[in-house]
Amino acid sequence: MKIVKTVLIILLLSAGRLAAQGTTPANTQPTIMVIPFSQEGTSLRTAYEQNELVRVAITKVKEAFDKRGVNTIDLRAKIKQTANTGALQEDQKSDLKDEVINNSGADVYVEVEANANYTNTGNSVTLILTAYDAFSGESYANKVGNSPKFYTTNFEKLVEKVADTEIPNLLNTIQEKFNDVIDNGRTITVKVGIHENSKFKMETEVDKEGNFLSDVIEDYIVEKSYKGKYHIQGMTANQLTFDIVKVPLKDESGNNFRVSRFASDFRRFLRSKEIQCTQTINGNSLVFTIN
């Protein structure tokens, strides 16, 4: 009897613990990199090193992430690393920004621009903050803030002032977007094209029921997209493009959802219909070519 009681108590306690865990949503810390805004023809390093205002603003943004318990990737270290691997040379220009971002492994990058404004009624600073999903390039949050006007040339102090207000709001908006991703999934794009030498067309019947190839593909996407959310950008005889296909953040095992797995599954599905295709994965874009 005593043993039964003990077992019951243990079961009750563990049930309580499980329930408590259920109320606290588990989440993954994203990796974030804060970079300066760089005009065309200016390298990231130059933009960072030659503008003190930007450096102050970047430090403030990084500090805000630290306070929220998120570590940021150091831009300078990444530039050095990238340069060391030969991917970025000092004389190379801003179009290599993408390379630094890609090599950083950051999930999100925040672009910071700070400009000093001189007027007769006092000086101020404009701070522009933009956060992007490094995976898709989708904009997560945009904030523009102006400091109050002061008769001062201490612009660093003005940047701090405007950053104190705008950065918490930037983080809040990013979190709102994260919540949306958690609830509605990530976005990937799927393009299915037909090779010029292929016998197939989108209107070719591919099964006994007489379904068109396009119908079969769409049915698959309906079934596999997260909560059935997808959008067709357009369809021609040779191409079917889904500009939005929602995929979950985690798979059934709780691991990060792999786009490559989605691609393989789709390819295998087509093979089961005796359709051969090749696949290309570029970030969140999947391209299939039916042979």
């Binding site: 949503p25 810390q29 104190d164 809040n172 979190q175 994260f178």
Partner: protein
């Protein structure tokens, strides 16, 4: 007959002389109701001060209402122009099912995160006091508390 008439008149006079009881004035009991009368006062280093206006039958109750109103506006509406321009909690209905949140708002749990509360203005009217209270909250600490109690998600995916 004469006596009867006199008696009747006397009775009427006596009845008309009954002391007219003044109707007892019923004291209005104020219930808390959230209002949007919360404006940014100042902000620095994560501390957010707002001016909140509320009315109640006595000053202590009005102050308490003003503090709760300030907190609710920060949590569910956001304060325009401040470091908390967006609400801390986006889904109020879902969040209010959490005991930690109701305790924070209605059982004076918020006092731990309220670093200052001062009376700015008081207006007395018949049976009511309207106060403008400047209330200061430590926003990062408040956010952390909500994260730890599963009311809001920790920053991240």
């Amino acid at each position: 007959m004469k006596l009867n008439t006199i008696g009747l008149i006397c009775t009427l006079i006596l009845l008309s002389c009954t002391s007219g009881k003044k109707p007892v004035e019923q004291k209005t009991v104020y219930e808390y109701q959230r209002s949007g009368m919360v404006n940014l006062s100042r902000q620095q280093n994560g501390l957010l001060s707002v001016n909140s206006i509320q009315t109640a039958e006595d000053v202590n109750k009005a102050v308490s209402f003003a503090e709760i109103n300030a907190l609710e506006n920060i949590l569910f509406r956001g304060i325009p122009g401040s470091l908390q321009a967006d609400p801390i909690i986006s889904n109020e209905k879902e969040a209010m099912t959490k005991q930690a949140l109701t305790k924070l708002i209605f059982n004076e749990g918020y006092r731990i995160f309220m670093t200052d509360s001062r009376l700015i203005e008081r207006q007395d009217s018949k049976n009511a006091v309207t106060v403008t209270q400047e209330v200061t909250f430590d926003i990062p600490a408040l956010r952390k508390h909500l994260e730890q109690n599963g009311v809001i998600r920790k920053f991240g995916l």
